[in-house]
């Protein structure tokens, strides 16, 4: 459905996108995640033909998008984009949702039917006569989504559609993406800085950092096997510890870290510099040395405990900095306090080894 080859984009001297290659299949929900300023919006704008790339090519439905304004308009009419802060016309909700249909010369009962259906889909039935500029942020975002859905685009581009919304509106928009769009076999390309939202919605994801698409794959791959330190950091792998492989016996490696050794599963050879990545939720804590099957067990001292909701983030000094994520209830039952001695353990399979 969509293919991007060697896409480069600059604003003045600033290089925003660097050599992006990407392919999105028909009916797929592809989510680009990345920190703010990584180039996600620019990528969507280029794909949405709102801007022309400095170099590189975009293929839509197998055909290269050329420079002629007429050809670009034809392709643009097969997609729709919803932005982070959607602008609504100073007109009724009906008129706003009907806009894309009107520019496609749709009129009469068919137009009315499509607008009404789109409004019902986003839960705004009965809002048609209201001025769109008097709506709340969540309602405005739903009008923008209805406006895009009304034209039944083959490719829907969503640029951080929930970035400015409250949790209830966010959940409503997410439900729309998962239910309505997936059912209609629409192809979706979405950008978000919320990795968990990406994980919830995506069939496939791409991690965009500093203008480079560092990794693409299904959400599981991205979150469990990040290909580099930057991706690991972005996907919430808080424990990223630099070390050197000191032994490798049939894929079980020892990574030397500040006088300690972490056991992990990896194909890296002896002497190679690596990072050991451990997700905080993979770490268990015990008052005494654990006798479980976990291959890694380190005594340490709690340096900080931060409670948030039902969870607690426990920071420790085990000769190296380690962060564990446990439930608040566990913290209370174990009566964990800053300065307490503790044992942290994790399995060798819970360590993700990244090239250093």
């Amino acid at each position: 459905m969509l293919e991007v080859k060697g896409l480069h984009h600059r604003y003045g001297k600033a290089e925003i996108l660097k050599n992006i290659d990407l392919g999105i299949e028909q009916g797929e929900v592809f989510v680009t995640i990345g920190p703010t300023g990584s180039g996600k919006t620019t990528l969507l704008r280029l794909v949405g033909l709102l801007e022309r790339p400095t170099s590189g090519h975009i293929y839509f439905d197998g055909h290269q998008v050329n420079n002629s304004e007429r050809a670009r308009l034809e392709i643009r009419r097969r997609m729709a984009m919803v932005s982070q802060k959607p602008a609504v016309f100073n007109a009724s909700v009906f008129d706003n949702v009907a806009y894309g249909l009107k520019v496609r010369k749709e009129k009469g009962a068919s137009l009315s039917h499509k607008v009404t259906k789109a409004l019902e889909t986003v839960g705004l039935a009965g809002y048609d006569r209201r001025n769109a500029q008097t709506l709340s942020g969540g309602e405005t975002q739903r009008v923008a989504l209805a406006r895009a859905l009304a034209i039944e685009p083959e490719l829907l581009l969503l640029d951080e559609p929930t970035a400015n919304l409250d949790p209830v509106s966010t959940s409503h928009i997410e439900k729309l993406v998962t239910d309505v769009i997936k059912r209609s076999n629409m192809t979706v390309m979405m950008a978000t800085h919320d990795m968990f939202q990406g994980q919830r919605l995506a069939d496939r994801m791409g991690v965009l950092v500093a203008g480079q698409m560092l990794q693409t794959g299904n959400p599981r791959e991205i979150f469990s096997s990040p290909r580099g330190r930057e991706i690991a950091e972005f996907v919430g792998m808080e424990n990223i510890i630099a070390g050197i492989i000191t032994s490798n016996e049939e894929g079980i490696v020892d990574i030397k870290i500040d006088g300690n050794a972490i056991e992990a599963i990896s194909n890296f050879g002896v002497g190679e510099a690596v990072y050991a990545g451990i997700r905080p939720e993979e770490i268990t804590l015990a008052r005494t040395k654990d006798t479980s099957s976990a291959r890694n067990n380190f005594p340490g001292e709690i340096t900080r405990i931060v409670l948030f909701g039902p969870l607690a983030r426990v920071e420790m000094n085990c000769g190296f900095h380690l962060v564990a994520l446990i439930t608040k209830r566990s913290t209370e039952e174990m009566n964990l306090q800053t300065g307490d001695r503790i044992h942290a353990s994790f399995k060798a399979t819970g360590v993700h080894v990244i090239k250093g």
């Binding site: 643009r76 609504v88 009724s92 008129d95």
Partner: protein, 241 residues
């Protein structure tokens, strides 16, 4: 104070007794000023769009020049039009000097800068996101410009009304190129000027009241038209849904 009250009474009498001279002057004034405003709007609103939506070298300078021309003296415009359309002028061959037509042309020139400049200002007041939204929803270049123009409709109408105000209230140009010929090119402003010169202050004031009333009526009607349009749109959408 007495003179003003007398003038007001006289003006009301003239309007309600159907004074043919007053009616003829008023009708001609409206005809000439509305014609020049409509022609000016048709020419200079698009010109404002053209300047606003295109990027070219010297755009800022051009806008500054246009803004400077807001206060172009009417006699200076009158002089230029006179030079162009007088027998010896480059367009003298048309023989339209001292006719309502040349007065319309002069007023169109007079309001050109105001309508163009204020249209540019009106469009600048619309968020760029509006045009981008229109384009992202499949609008062509023209459709996207139209969407922005619709967003700026109140400000653009204001630009046109300011142009109308300038056209209907100018006197220098009408005198110079119209000649204030009774029953032909005499308009409210030139009539006021003439009657004041003759010492008919009460009549001048009466005509002045009519002039102000006319400007007020046109402005109110234009604003009401826009509001009615808005309500109609909302109603038709409501019934369609």
């Amino acid at each position: 104070m007495h003179a003003i009250a007398d003038a007001f009474v006289l003006a009301v009498k003239m309007i309600f007794t159907g004074d043919p001279e007053v009616y003829s002057i008023t009708a001609r004034t409206l005809e000439i000023s509305l014609s020049s405003t409509v022609i000016g709007a048709l020419l200079f609103v698009p010109l404002g769009c053209l300047i606003y939506f295109n990027h070219f070298r010297g755009k800022r300078t051009l806008i500054s020049i246009i803004q400077t021309c807001y206060s172009l003296p009417t006699v200076f415009v009158g002089l230029l039009v006179f030079l162009v359309f007088s027998r010896a002028g480059p367009l003298g061959v048309f023989g339209i000097m001292f006719t309502p037509q040349v007065m319309v042309i002069g007023q169109v020139v007079l309001i050109s800068a105001i309508v163009t400049g204020l249209t540019i200002s009106a469009l600048s007041g619309v968020s760029p996101a509006i045009r981008e939204t229109a384009i992202s929803l499949g609008a062509s270049r023209f459709q996207s410009v139209w969407a922005v123009l619709k967003e700026a409709r109140f400000a653009v109408l204001t630009a046109i009304l300011v142009g109308f105000g300038r056209a209907i209230s100018e006197v220098g140009l009408a005198l110079m190129v119209g000649g204030n010929i009774r029953g032909y090119t005499r308009v409210l402003t030139t009539a006021i000027s003439l009657e004041t010169g003759k010492g008919e202050v009460a009549l001048s004031l009466a005509l002045g009241f009519i002039l102000v009333a006319l400007a007020l009526i046109v402005t109110v009607l234009a604003n009401r038209f826009l509001r009615v349009k808005e309500v109609d749109v909302a109603r038709s959408q409501g019934s369609a849904s």
